[in-house]
Amino acid sequence: MLRLEDLSVRFGGLTAVNTVSLSVGSHEVVGLVGPNGAGKTTLFNAVSGLVKPSSGRILFDSVDMLRTPLHRRARMGIGRTFQVPQPMHELTVRENLIVAQRFGTGAVDARKIDEVLDFTNLTDKAERHAATELALTELKALEVAKALATNPKLLMLDEVLAGLETNGKRRFMGMLKELHEKFAVGILIIEHDIETISNLCHRVAVLNFGELIADGTPDEVFRDPEVMKSYTGASDA
């Protein structure tokens, strides 16, 4: 469904993403891991259209995304969350979802919105104002809910589990699994916690200094000493 071919993103002299080739199938859950500053978020930004690739191609359902404007990518089925939550400030939680649904899918379906609210545990926060009345974790849930409301084929999640308590983390992971099955979406997820990734993902891609250094099943990847060195600093893990 999503295919990156030799994708590079440069900021001035810094190459944040360096000739990365990667694909995500339509029913796959793929983990994207790597040390801080490896270029994971930048890769998301390139796919969703917030930064311009310096070279390489992004194909979604075999359509070249280079000339596709940002807002149309959402309609085509690319949904994403932000690492630093970015709610639509002036709206309530529900209105956030209405906008996402109306403009991401072209139609409004109140039932589906209730479903998403319920799914992300936001039902009792639905009428709250997003900007000022939510805690960080609730904002993260809203990020996911917004992406879901656009009815995506590919969901890109940027550290949505970070900062969650153990219990909440488990719940959220259960939710993601369910989501994958129920809504049949492909998922590309950034996370630092190896356990979470192994638990969730069919495949793991590892970025280091912008380069793709491994791509395989969690077992394969997390056994790779090079990966583990860059990632945990311990070669024995």
């Binding site: 709206l91 109306r102 900007a131 992406a147």
Partner: protein, 317 residues
């Protein structure tokens, strides 16, 4: 569209009671008409601010272009006034097309860029004298016609025209705000990226709001020129067409639909009827003080204040 009982009563009063009660007093009627002209621009300005998230310092650009287009069409092409007024609005939209590049600017950058356009339009109107009459302007712009024996160019006639125009604006504004576009527009404030990644074409939406606002302002400008029957660049593009409406909109509450109208009528009438008789030559000073007090004590404007007040009364009752 839903209109409440009080709303209907107010509309009926505006159409019937005001002309009957005040129609014979030319002075008060001309103050009311002038206030409604300001109110119309204030409404258009507030629409752009509230829905589009854009503060403009250059609405005089649309006002002036609308006025010139309508005046020239009636004078040189002999077009009927009401058609020309609509085309005045269209002319303002066309003028706003050249402003599209500034849509990607934010906050004060946008506000000032629009002001720059207003200046440029004014200079063009001054220099292009073969068409616009240059700085001497256009005198004897056609006045409103008679309709079924009723002279629309009189105070009452003009009042009814501008009232109808304003009601149409209010209806349009309400329709837009209630639609999904309205919510999406509100969403864009401060969170444009977030809104775009869920599929909102923010540039297009903002452009549409600019067009709507420009159209409304242009029509008001066209109305004004046929009402005053005189036009020159300094007047058509005067800064007053920006500052007074902004004051009115903020005063009434620019986040509400009726706020700008209520604000315009209140500010204008109170200023002219009360302050002016208190301090003849410095009454604007009081206006300034009022603004300052308003921002500090009720930043949401008059409308929320009134509503809060009536709610309190209800609660007490």
């Amino acid at each position: 569209m839903y209109v409440s009982k009080t709303g209907l009563a107010v509309i009926a009063a505006a159409y019937v009671a005001v002309p009957l009660l005040l129609g014979s007093n030319n002075y008060v009627m001309s103050l009311i008409v002038a206030a409604m002209i300001i109110g119309g621009i204030a409404l258009a300005w507030a629409l752009l601010g509230n829905l589009g998230g854009m503060v403009s310092f250059g609405h005089s650009a649309f006002f002036g272009v609308g006025a010139y287009v309508s005046a020239l069409l009636t004078m040189k092409a002999g077009m009927p006034i009401f058609a020309a007024m609509l085309l005045g609005g269209v002319g303002a939209v066309v003028a706003s097309l050249v402003m599209l590049p500034v849509l990607r600017l934010k906050g004060p950058y946008f506000a000032l860029a629009i002001l720059a356009y207003a200046h440029i339009f004014k200079i063009i109107a001054t220099e292009w004298s073969s068409v616009t009459g240059g700085s001497a302007g256009l005198a004897s712009v056609p006045r409103f016609p008679e309709l079924m024996g009723f002279d629309l160019s009189g105070k009452t006639g003009s009042y009814l025209i501008i009232l109808t125009v304003l009601l149409a604006f209010v209806a349009a504004y309400r329709a837009i705000r209630a639609s999904h576009y309205g919510i999406a527009l509100r969403a864009m404030h401060d969170s444009e990226d977030a809104t775009r990644v869920v599929g909102v074409n923010s540039t297009l939406l903002k452009a549409l709001m600019l067009f709507v606002s420009a159209f409304m302002t242009g029509v008001v400008g066209a109305f004004n020129v046929h009402y005053i029957n005189f036009l020159e660049p300094d007047y058509a593009f005067s800064g007053l067409w920006v500052t007074l409406p902004i004051v009115a909109a903020i005063f009434g509450g620019y986040r509400t639909i009726l706020g700008p109208l209520v604000g315009a009528v209140t500010v204008y009438l109170v200023d002219q009827l009360i302050f002016k008789s208190l301090i003849p030559s410095g009454h604007q000073l009081v206006l300034g003080a009022l603004l300052v007090a308003m921002i500090i004590f009720s930043p949401g404007g008059l409308m929320p204040l009134l509503r809060k007040d009536s709610r309190r009364k209800h609660a007490a009752a």
